[in-house]
């Protein structure tokens, strides 16, 4: 038990950025994360969902391409654990296929968002001055436009597909990591080791990558996880509005939208499974993100 832990009980001493840098080094954060039972549970749920969506169909064969009219909206029973939907597809199989799309888009969009956002924010924060001001005003302007509206507009212009969804969602989501990393870069660029590197003549891109970004890894990781959660919500909303991928592909949001028509008829298996799946997945990613944030000792007000 280090004096630092006792000190944390007796009074604050370290600044957050220093704490983060310390937690990043030596994998301290990993050990702290593993001790957080809730976070580990979240991770387990995520892995389970990944398996269900991608490995599940290998064991549970259903036809997701040909409709089977005459078999529609059957309640759960023998051979169909979750019943069938309004065109005869097996609901559980639909859930798996839907999960594939959701997770693909969510991970892809999160990756795009994080890469774009980190590069933008690190550059803005590191160089500061007019460049920073301009880059951040652009971020502010894009942030002022609600993603849904932007996506509505873009979705009517482009053909919906998994790739398009990834790009479109990623392009609206990069703003938050940009802001976060810019803040990190601002505080890190006056650290002695950065100044030393500059004096030694190290070129800016190298400094940005080796010092600024590597020391913000905690923030980046936390934000990436939360981005996945947000992306799932966004894709679900988009698909719910009818702007997602075209059939026979589907995702949970679209399933909810389709099933909505049948709530009045009491066909609960058409809406509750996808709804619960969304909540569970987003919850899991949020919990993992929170756990990572605690493990890195980050300020909850950022990230």
């Amino acid at each position: 038990m280090s004096p630092e832990n006792v000190a944390s009980v007796l009074g604050p001493e370290q600044s957050t950025a220093e704490a983060e840098a310390e937690a990043t080094a030596g994998g301290v954060w990993l050990r702290a994360f593993v001790r957080n039972r809730l976070a580990v549970t979240g991770l387990v749920v995520i892995v389970a969902l990944l398996l269900l969506s991608f490995v599940g169909p290998l064991f549970y064969h259903t036809d997701q391409v040909h409709t089977r009219l005459g078999m529609e909206t059957l309640a759960p029973g023998a051979g169909r654990p979750l019943g069938t939907d309004d065109v005869g597809y097996d609901e559980l199989g639909r859930l798996m296929v839907g999960g594939q799309t959701m997770l693909e888009v969510a991970f892809g969009a999160a990756a795009v968002a994080v890469v774009l956002g980190v590069l933008w924010g690190a550059t803005a924060g590191y160089f500061g001055g007019l460049l920073d001001a301009l880059m951040m005003r652009i971020v502010d302007a894009l942030l002022a436009i609600p993603a849904i509206l932007l996506l509505l507009f873009l979705a009517t212009v482009f053909r919906p597909s998994v790739l398009m969804l990834i790009i479109v969602v990623g392009v609206t989501a990069w703003l938050v990591p940009a802001r976060l990393i810019r803040a990190e870069a601002l505080s890190l660029r006056s650290r002695e080791y950065v100044l030393a590197a500059k004096t030694m003549g190290v070129r800016s891109p190298t400094i940005i990558f080796r010092h600024i970004i590597t020391n913000s890894l905690g923030t980046i990781l936390v934000n990436a996880t939360l981005q996945v959660a947000d992306a799932i919500l966004l894709v679900a909303a988009l698909s719910f509005l009818g702007l997602g991928v075209a059939p026979p592909a589907t995702n949970w949001g679209a399933m909810l939208s389709d099933g909505l028509n049948y709530t009045y008829s009491g066909f609960w298996w058409l809406t509750y499974p996808p709804g619960i799946a969304i909540v569970l997945t987003v919850l899991a990613f949020n919990v993992v993100g929170d756990g990572l944030r605690d493990a890195f000792g980050l300020d909850t007000r950022r990230g």
Binding site: M1, P3, N5, V6, V9, L10, G11, P12
Partner: protein, 346 residues
Amino acid sequence: MNAPATRRREEQPAAAPVLQVSGLDVDIRLPSAVVHAVQDVSLEVWAGETVGVVGESGCGKSTLGLALAGLLPPEAETRGSIRQDGRELVGLRERELRGIRGAEVGIVFQDPMTSLNPTKRIGAQVGEALRLQRGASKAAALRAAADMLDRVGLPRPREQLDRFPHELSGGMRQRVVIASALICEPRVLVADEPTTALDVTTQAQILELFDGLSAELGMATLLVTHDMGVVAGHANRVFVMYAGREAETGATETIFETPRHRYTGALLGSILRMETPRKSRLGTIPGRPPDLTAPGTGCPFAPRCTAASGECTSQLPAASEEDGHRWSCYHPLDAQETKRIPEAQR
């Protein structure tokens, strides 16, 4: 259990000590372990005198200070006795402790910037204790605050009342913090590393301020610090702590001229003094402070001590006392070794 060290015969005042600590134990319960931060500490402080509590980070000196101010977190468990003017503080309920804080015991922390609420004006913060403890009106508290700010040497005190903490320099802020801690004229002042965050010149000024106020208000002052230089100039007596325990205690001149505990000797050897020969290297103490969650048997300093022997690791040494000077060491330094300390061999 150690009884508090007796003072040198000539110096024994008639009055009882303001602060009397006996056999104090403080344990901190963390989720994964229990930290034995303070173990069997006994000391006394009289009115008007300053006791310097020294030791490295993690030795328990801050915990001791917090215990005296009644500010330990809920995870802390206290045993033993702390008497302030005869009143027992250990075991008091939060309500009763609240009445004592600020009024009887004041505390000053290390970082003046974070000790002050950034969104409240100086005047309000300095006068706060007066309003809380004595029910003073806003106007009366502000008047008293201006007076106190003057006493701590802040220029143009009336103008400062309306300003915010971030508008002042570090030294001025620490004066404000001191003023706010002393406004009720408490009997005891705990100063936890009060000058560590300040530059050297300001340090000297603040320490002189402490000297003056201590005498003026007749307070019992505890100066908690890791800096032997601070202690040398501004403490009447010294209390050296290691791993939560008392290592050595006595009058300042005695400790500096004739240290007995090996740890004290090592500490003195690691600082720069007038007598240190020019071309020598400063000594360091090898090893690391012990893990307070698992105090072993024997002297806690033994693993890092150059003179440690078998008995050092198996049993805690009993305290030896001589004329107000007390130490707990099986192999105390003798006169020869003490003379060599300025050469910083160890």
